[in-house]
Symmetry: C2
Subunit: 398 residues, 2 copies
C-alpha cells in the first residue's frame, strides 16, 4: 500500500515543532472535544474483575441499547441486526469481506476517506471511483455516471454521509436516486454514517436505512469515534437487516474473538449522554465552520463550498500542487512563529491527478486557534511561490 500524502507530511510537522514553531493541526479527524463524562465515569467505575472476551458480536446489553439509540433516528433494527466492531474501520472491512468476493468492484464517490483503499486491498476488492466535483459543491454524481461504471463485477456502492472529506450532506432526492439504481441492479449499498450527529443549519439527516424496499441491500457502517469524541475506544458497528450478511460477518468477528471490553463500556454508557452535550457540540462546530468558510471565501482565488455536515471543509486554493504547498507550510513558512498543517486532497482521490489544488481542513480546534490558523493560511497564500492565478468557478459552488 502506498503511503498517504498526510503521512508523508508528519516528519515535516515534527521538524517544524522542533524548531519551536506552533503548528495548528487541521489535518486530522481527531476532535478536541472532551469524551462525555457519562462514559469516562463508566470506565472509572467499572466492576470488571476478569477482563474477559465478550460475545464476538458484542455485548447483548450494548446491542439492545444501540437498537434503542437508532430508533431516535427513525432507524428500526433489532439488536440481532447489529454487530459491534473494533472501530468503524472493522465495520468497513467486515462489510467488504461479507458482501463481496475477491475480484469484485465497489463504486465510491471520490474524494473519499483514504483508508477505504487499504481495506479494499485487504479484501481483494477493486475500488472504482466516480468523481464528485467542487463545482457542484461535491454533490452526488449523476446516476447516469454511476450507470456507466456498473459492470457484471460491480458488487456494491459505498457512500459516506455526511461526507468525509467534503462535509457534503446527501439530500433525500439524491439518496432516492441512488436507491433506484441499487434496487434495479441488486447491488449492496454501504453507507458510512459516522458523522450523522454533525448536521448544520437544521438540515435533515437521511439514513440509507430510511430508503424504501432495499432493506436487504443496505449495510450501515457506524462508529462512536466522532459522535462522542472517543476515537481511541475503537468501537463501531455494522448494521443490516440482511441476516445472511450479518451471519457471514459474525464468522469474521468470531475469528478475531471480540471487540474491546472497555470500549464497549464507553459505547453503552455514551447512549445516555444528555442532549445538552450534542447541543453544545453543534453550536461550537457551527461557529467553527462559519469562521473557516467565510474566511476562506474572502481570500482571493479560494473556493470553499459550505458543507452541511461532519467537521471538514474541502477547498480549492490558488496553488500549483497541494502536496508541495502543505509541505512548504511546514518546512518554509511561518507567520509570527506559527504555521498550519492541512491535508492535501490528492490522497482522497483515486483518479490520478485530481485534487492537486484542493485541501481538506478539519475544524477540530477552538475558535481562537482556528482564527490564528486562518490568518496563517491567508498570509501563506499571499507569498507562496507556487501561487497560481485566481480560480474560475461557477456561482453554484459559492
Amino acid at each position: 500500500m502506498p503511503q498517504s500524502p498526510i503521512r508523508k507530511l508528519v516528519p515535516y510537522a515534527e521538524a517544524a515543532k522542533k524548531k519551536g514553531r506552533i503548528v495548528y493541526h487541521l489535518n486530522i479527524g481527531q476532535p478536541d472535544i472532551e469524551t462525555p463524562d457519562t462514559s469516562r465515569n463508566a470506565i472509572k467505575n467499572n466492576a470488571l474483575k476478569v477482563v474477559a472476551y465478550s460475545h464476538s458480536a458484542g455485548n447483548e446489553t450494548y446491542r439492545r441499547k444501540l437498537a434503542e439509540y437508532y430508533r431516535r433516528f427513525d432507524i428500526h433494527v433489532d439488536y440481532s441486526d447489529i454487530l459491534i466492531t473494533t472501530g468503524g474501520s472493522e465495520a468497513i472491512m467486515f462489510a467488504l469481506l461479507s458482501c463481496l468476493n475477491p475480484g469484485q468492484e465497489v463504486i465510491i464517490s471520490e474524494p473519499f476517506y483514504a483508508n477505504y483503499n487499504g481495506f479494499a486491498i485487504q479484501a481483494g476488492v477493486t475500488v472504482k471511483p466516480i468523481t464528485a466535483k467542487i463545482e457542484n459543491g461535491f454533490g452526488l454524481p449523476s446516476m447516469s455516471e454511476f450507470e456507466k461504471l456498473i459492470t457484471p463485477k460491480t458488487g456494491a456502492i459505498l457512500i459516506c454521509n455526511p461526507n468525509n472529506p467534503t462535509g457534503y450532506m446527501y439530500s433525500r432526492d439524491e439518496l432516492n436516486a441512488l436507491r433506484d439504481i441499487i434496487k434495479k441492479r441488486d447491488l449492496y449499498l454501504f453507507a458510512d454514517e459516522v458523522y450523522k450527529e454533525f448536521c448544520y443549519d437544521g438540515r435533515e439527516f437521511v439514513s440509507v436505512m430510511h430508503l424504501e424496499d432495499i432493506a436487504e441491500n443496505v449495510v450501515v457502517l457506524d462508529s462512536i469515534s466522532k459522535r462522542y469524541s472517543a476515537c481511541g475506544a475503537r468501537i463501531g458497528s455494522m448494521v443490516s437487516k440482511n441476516k445472511t450478511v450479518i451471519g457471514t460477518a459474525l464468522k469474521f468477528a468470531q475469528a478475531r474473538l471480540s471487540p474491546p471490553s472497555y470500549g464497549q463500556i464507553v459505547g453503552e454508557s455514551a447512549i445516555d449522554t444528555p442532549d445538552s452535550y450534542f447541543d453544545d457540540v453543534l453550536v461550537e462546530y457551527t461557529k467553527r465552520r462559519n469562521l473557516v468558510v467565510s474566511t476562506l471565501n474572502k481570500i482571493d482565488g479560494v473556493v470553499c463550498p459550505t458543507p452541511g455536515g461532519a467537521f471538514y471543509v474541502a477547498a480549492r486554493l490558488p496553488i500549483d500542487d497541494a502536496d508541495k504547498f502543505c509541505r512548504w507550510l511546514l518546512e518554509e513558512f511561518e507567520y509570527e512563529n506559527q504555521t498550519v498543517m492541512l491535508a492535501p486532497m490528492t490522497g482522497f482521490y483515486s483518479t490520478p491527478g485530481l485534487g492537486k489544488d484542493e485541501i481538506r481542513l478539519g475544524y477540530v480546534l477552538n475558535v481562537d486557534a482556528l482564527a490564528k490558523a486562518m490568518t496563517c493560511l491567508e498570509k501563506a497564500l499571499a507569498i507562496y511561490p507556487g501561487r497560481t492565478m485566481q480560480t474560475v468557478v461557477s456561482d453554484k459552488a459559492r
Copy 2:
C-alpha cells in the same frame, strides 16, 4: 468460512443450561483468573479526557516498556521493532498480510488454533498442515516431513509455542532444527508465543528470537490476553527485527488507525505486575494440570500426554466421534445434574478425518470444579453409546 465444531456446540450448551444443568466449560481459552490489580486500578485511575487515537503502532511509552519486558526473557528488541495490535488476532493477520502474497502458502503444525484458518482465508494465503502425532506427545514433526511440504509457493512456517491446543512445549533442539530449514529455504518463521508465561516443571521457554542467524526471518506474535487474563482488553503485539516487515505492517495498522486506548493502559501497567502474581498462577495451573492429566490417564482407553505449557490438554478418548460425543455430553448426558463442555479436536486439524477421537480440554476452572468435571467425564465415558475399544498407544506418549 465454515463454522467451527466448538461454535456448533453452543446452542446445545445453552439448552442444557436452560434445563437447569450445571455445565463445566472446559471448551474455552478464557481463564477464570483475575486480571492483575495493577491494571484494573490503572484503568480506574486513568486521566483521559479525550479518548483520542493513539499512534497507529501503539503508544511509544508502552512500546518502550514492552521492550523492557521482553528483555526479561533475553529477547533484545528496540521499541521500533514492536507494533501494538488489537489482540494477538491482529498480529497474526498483519504478519500474514505483510510477509506473504495472496496465493502463497504457510506450513502449520496441526492440530492448531482454528482461527489461523480464518486469518489465512482473509489474507488469501493457503494453509498447508503438517501433522503432529499424539503418539509423539504432539512434538514437532520431523524436518524431513517439513521438507516434503516446501514448494516454491511456501512463504512461511507458523508455530505456536507453548502450543494451543496441545500444551506441547518445543525443545531447543526442535527449534534449532526448524531454524536450519528457515535459514536454508529463507522462509519467514511466525511464532505465536502468547503462552510463554505458562511453562511447567521448570521447563525452559525458548523463543524464536533466541535462534541464531535468522533475525530477519522471525516474527513473534504476542498478546496480553492469556498472560494477564485480559482477553477483553484486545491488546497484542507483533515483534520483528525485520524493518521492512514492521514498516509494511505499519501501513495496515495505519488503515485501521490505532489499537484500543484503554487496552494499552491495561498492557502498559500490567508490565509492573508483581512476580508473585505469576508465581500464584503457575502453582494454581500446575495443580490443575496434574489433576486433569492423572485423572484422564486413569480412565480406561484414554491417552493424555503431559503438556509442558499453556493451559490445555489434548487427549485421545475411546470414542467413535468427538463431535458427536461432545454434543451428546450436552444434549443427553448428566451426572448429578452436571455435565461438561469440551472442544472436539476435529476443529484443530486441517486434514479431514483427523482428531475424531480427540478432545481439547482447557483447565480454566478451579480445582474443585475441575474435579467435578472430571468425574462427569469419567461417568460419561462409561456409558457413552459410541464408546470404542481401548486405544493402543506407544509408551512414549504416556
